[in-house]
Symmetry: C2
Subunit: 340 residues, 2 copies
Amino acid sequence: MKSELLIQTPGDYHVHVRRGPMMKAVLPYTVRQFGRALLMPNTLPKGIFTAHDVAAYRSEVLSEVDDLAFEPLMSIKLCDDTTPQMVADAYAEGAVAAKIYPRGVTTNSDDGVENVMGLRRVFGAIQELGMLLLLHGEHPQAYYADAETRFLPILRQIHAEFPNLRIVLEHVSTKAAVRNVLSLGPNVAATITIHHMLLTGDDVVKGKMRAHNYCLPIAKRPEDRDAVLAAALSGDPKFFLGTDSAPHPVDRKECAECSGGIFTAPCALEYLATIFEQHGCLDKLENFCSTFGAQHYGLPVCQGKIRLVREEWEIEDQYAGVKSFRHFKTLPWKFAGKIS
Amino acid sequence: MKSELLIQTPGDYHVHVRRGPMMKAVLPYTVRQFGRALLMPNTLPKGIFTAHDVAAYRSEVLSEVDDLAFEPLMSIKLCDDTTPQMVADAYAEGAVAAKIYPRGVTTNSDDGVENVMGLRRVFGAIQELGMLLLLHGEHPQAYYADAETRFLPILRQIHAEFPNLRIVLEHVSTKAAVRNVLSLGPNVAATITIHHMLLTGDDVVKGKMRAHNYCLPIAKRPEDRDAVLAAALSGDPKFFLGTDSAPHPVDRKECAECSGGIFTAPCALEYLATIFEQHGCLDKLENFCSTFGAQHYGLPVCQGKIRLVREEWEIEDQYAGVKSFRHFKTLPWKFAGKIS
């Protein structure tokens, strides 16, 4: 049994670090374990839509980062009014990706896209620039349990019309999504969260502390969870880590309208090492966390390594005033720092 | 357009009135609109298991009832240790029904039945005495969305072995349950709640004030809701009202582990008149609320009538300190009292 793990510094290709005081509180957890992070653009009070927003958000983030090697990957949020020029300007300002939130499907998506295929000119621009298109793949008119599956024809259509466009279907939660991603060309990949490898709808509906397991897309059936987990463990470069770590204050979780999001940043790598080891796939961990995402984004892998040691420890109830993800109470691996 | 409705005093064949201070607070709402109510036996701190429990619970209830015509229908909760003699004693004490909660499927069911078919001798006694068997029809090992469907083979088996046993499948929530009840003999009937005629899983997972829409069995797919509604409106005597009105203090709803239950007692008949009228079925309302349940229980219909008047009014946010069911904000019918 290994007592230590050294893996290439990982990247989190999907994380919510928020703005303002919450950002100051949660960002250090991501910076601690990751070499880069793709910051989601659905911030409040206003999303990241323009080059100007990108510059402002990046400098707000960087002002809180001590680790000079840490690289925030910036993205913009598309809306029905986004123009190819706006995308080009954002790209020039450093945005590497543009994200579609279909209107109303998730947290802070009331200003999301109403007509996805109405953005063809924008998709053309993204493809030409070499940016990535990120999809929150839920159909806004579908029943919640069907929302991801119902979105898949839109994914297929975008890919068919823009075969050179690099796409990420974010936080896949169903067997159908995994199969579709596998069946499409190499420009279509998917992120997988820690919680979607572990939870089913039972954990959200009937489980202990269920409000804290509530996320969007909601965890699905056991066979879906199994397919997502298998995809993560498979060693297929189409699937890589995006934690979707999404902090909410306790009073926005324990209330009449529980916010969607699970805060996994404080123990991300520990969870991942635990899951991969449980399934005898520790040899696949580094590619999933560190390599495949960089490849799909066309970036070098992050410099340096991180170290985990075998040491059982108890996850705290809260970090930075946010309830942590305690699907396991203790973890056998402990993060022990970056090695440059 | 009718300005007044007079219907035979209805019965609520499934309601949680609790014990102690909560009972004092919520019972008057049921007594106000109904002539009788089948009181669920899964009370806390202890369920109603024996003749002694029945007598104690009935007298606690009656001590709070001003309306001398109101009839509490008592039931007992079966457990793996219940004997035919215990059932006979409870019957002698006035219990008209015995209920099975499979262990762990719902609120206060940790002491429920582990092995349903292990109770054959008890089912025989219930059949012989002329009591009813009430089923919380969810399979404890099933995925939450499948739990009712997975229970149906157990319903069919009990009915096949005890064809003269009158059974109620409580609070049906799926198309499959409706079809099964229809396909079985006349001794198998089902109660239908107000909220299962209105809600889908979307209301529970993504809806406004979603914690207050959380109930067990959880609301299902749109086609399930439609089938349940159609059954209620059908005029088939196999389907009758059981509100499953289930009050929880606000802090047990707006929390990390939201309790299951919706408090509909304060505006039950107003909701029902509204729903039946919306679907052009006001002529079916009386049978659903007042006649079919009495027939299945082998009881006379309740004496007297109730009156509703057409008067739009706004549902209050809370009654007796419990959040009310505000699927509609206003209702066009208003309860205007009993007429003896």
